[in-house]
């Protein structure tokens, strides 16, 4: 009885929190709702007419949806970049903000699952993946591994986040015995989800562009800059619009860690480029298609060099302590990181891997308006989820949203 009562209090309180806000909040929500409606309509059309409404064909059988999925798994994994200094190195300034990394991870995983759902040809058969109703080809299929680790990671983050918030709602501190082990577990899990996602591509001998040993380390490196890039912007916004406080040194530390991650990312890309261009085998074709195009097929070349430029710019800004401390260059760096990694890990990973195809054919893929609308809808769902969770989490962590009757501690 008491549990149900306290839960309904929490639910009612949360509803009140999310239904109040300044004008900007409502404009933002309206904007996201429009995107979600548009995405939903586009998706319904796609389900009825088939995936043929996308630009994907046999020659390039994965595209924008899977690219976004891959990028977002990286974002989800990056919550860990906060956890390591906070818990492993016991760095207090970051401890308070770990929860926001986890909320970001939850939103990112939800977007990942949505992107997979909109990409498969038979979404009505999704349950075929869930044992014991279906059959999960574990451990042979890396996709089966991905299903398991992504859901496990989601569960860990969801459990920790809701536990911390729910306890804080009751004016109680979270149970260390539950949270700390789970949070520490989330470190190898974060590495795990992105390694498994990398192995999805890495294990395919048919696609030499992906069949490279550096793929897993590269994924981790780019993940550890892209996730925090979003988080830094969000934290600054929270600081501006709520009573939320975060020490400057926490923000600068995160930016510094991102610099190292971006360096590793650039180094691995450079190593890959060297191997392809110097060895000069047939496998160079895929890299060439990305950076310079083949036989006049060069739709993606501008994006390739934009990504390179953004990544190098981001590295340059974040490695300089002065640039990190300047709010303008800090945010330019965040934006550059996001853009650079989004391009090179999304379309920049999927399309060159599949072009030319296994029989040497070049079909130039770029998303249709239908795909863009569906993808925007999925992103809007993720952002909406994140916004609503923050709308409840920030007041809780500030002590503003607390259970009326209970003011005592455990």
């Amino acid at each position: 009885m008491k549990t149900i009562r306290s839960f309904t209090d929490f639910a009612r309180g949360s509803v009140m929190l999310v239904s109040q806000g300044p004008r900007g909040y409502w404009v933002w929500l309206a904007f996201l709702s429009i995107l979600i409606m548009s995405g939903l309509l586009a998706y319904i059309h796609q389900v009825q007419a088939g995936l043929g409404v996308t630009a994907m064909r046999d020659q390039v059988s994965w595209g924008f949806y899977i690219g976004n999925f891959t990028f977002l798994v990286g974002v989800a994994a990056a919550a860990v970049i906060l956890v390591i200094p906070a818990y492993v190195y016991d760095w207090k300034p970051i401890r308070e903000i770990v929860i926001y990394g986890e909320l970001l991870a939850i939103s990112a995983i939800v977007m990942c699952l949505l992107f997979v759902t909109v990409d498969i040809g038979r979404p009505d058969r999704f349950w075929h993946l869930i044992p014991p109703l279906g059959y999960l080809n574990f451990p042979q299929s890396i996709l089966a591994w991905d299903v398991m680790v992504l859901n496990l990671y989601f569960l860990i983050n969801f459990t920790v986040a809701t536990h911390i918030l729910y306890r804080a709602f009751h004016g109680q501190h979270y149970r260390k015995g539950l949270v700390v082990p789970l949070v520490l577990l989330s470190i190898p899990m974060a590495v795990g989800i992105h390694t498994v996602t990398a192995f999805l591509y890495n294990g395919l001998a048919a696609r030499p562009y992906w069949n490279s040993s550096i793929l897993a380390p590269q994924f981790l490196a780019s993940a550890f800059c892209s996730g925090p890039a979003i988080l830094l912007v969000v934290l600054q916004l929270l600081r501006k619009f709520t009573k939320f406080e975060i020490k400057d040194e926490a923000i600068h530390k995160i930016a510094e860690l991102m610099a190292y991650a971006m360096f590793l990312n650039l180094f691995l890309h450079g190593a890959e480029a060297f191997k392809e261009y110097y060895s000069d085998t047939e496998h160079l074709l895929y890299t060439r298609y990305w950076y310079s195009g083949i036989n006049g097929h060069n739709t993606l070349v501008p994006y390739a060099w934009t990504a390179v430029f953004c990544n190098i710019l981001a590295f340059g800004l974040f490695i300089s302590p002065k640039a990190r401390r300047n709010i303008v260059t800090l945010n330019i760096g965040c934006l550059a990181t996001y853009m650079g990694v989004y391009i090179e890990k999304g379309m920049g990973l999927i399309i060159p891997g599949l072009t030319p195809d296994t029989l040497g054919e070049i079909y130039e893929y770029y998303p249709t308006s239908s795909e863009l609308r569906v993808a925007a809808g999925v992103f809007a769902v993720g952002f909406l989820l994140f916004t609503l969770m923050l709308k409840v989490a920030v007041p809780i962590s500030l002590g503003e949203f607390i259970r009326p009757a209970t003011k005592s501690t455990a």
């Binding site: 043929g52 630009a55 064909r57 079909y363 249709t368």
Partner: protein
Amino acid sequence: MRTLLIATLAIASAAAADKPKTVEKLEVPPPPFSEGIFPCTSCHATMKPDRTRRELTMMHVEIDLKHDQEHRWCLDCHDANNRDQLHLASGEPVKFEESYKLCGQCHGEKLRDWRAGVHGRRTGYWNGTKGYLLCAHCHNPHQPRFKALAPKPAPQAPKRPVD
């Protein structure tokens, strides 16, 4: 890889089914004579054979020999004394239904492959009676080279949907 596969097959062949060896005489459909031309003896029984190597002007003028025509002519394959059959280089007669023996004189490896079922069109059953055709069913003995064919339509190139 081939070594591995053949090694596997060697081990597995213990369980292989028992199949009869390819027989000397193979069941084939009747030879593809032009209409009304056979039996040849209906005209040639009463005609005296003229073994002079020449270009024919009176009959069979539609046959344009393009089969080693520098060195061979009609009677090198057709039996001069009995036009209802062919003959080998040794003079031994060969029935039209077994014309492969004649072709096999020069094209021995094709004959060997054909007997094994590896040369020529495949009809029938892979685990039962195989369907064999005579050489002449596909190759015009006077102009054996295949004519070029018009290819069937190319596959459609992948196209973006109309946006």
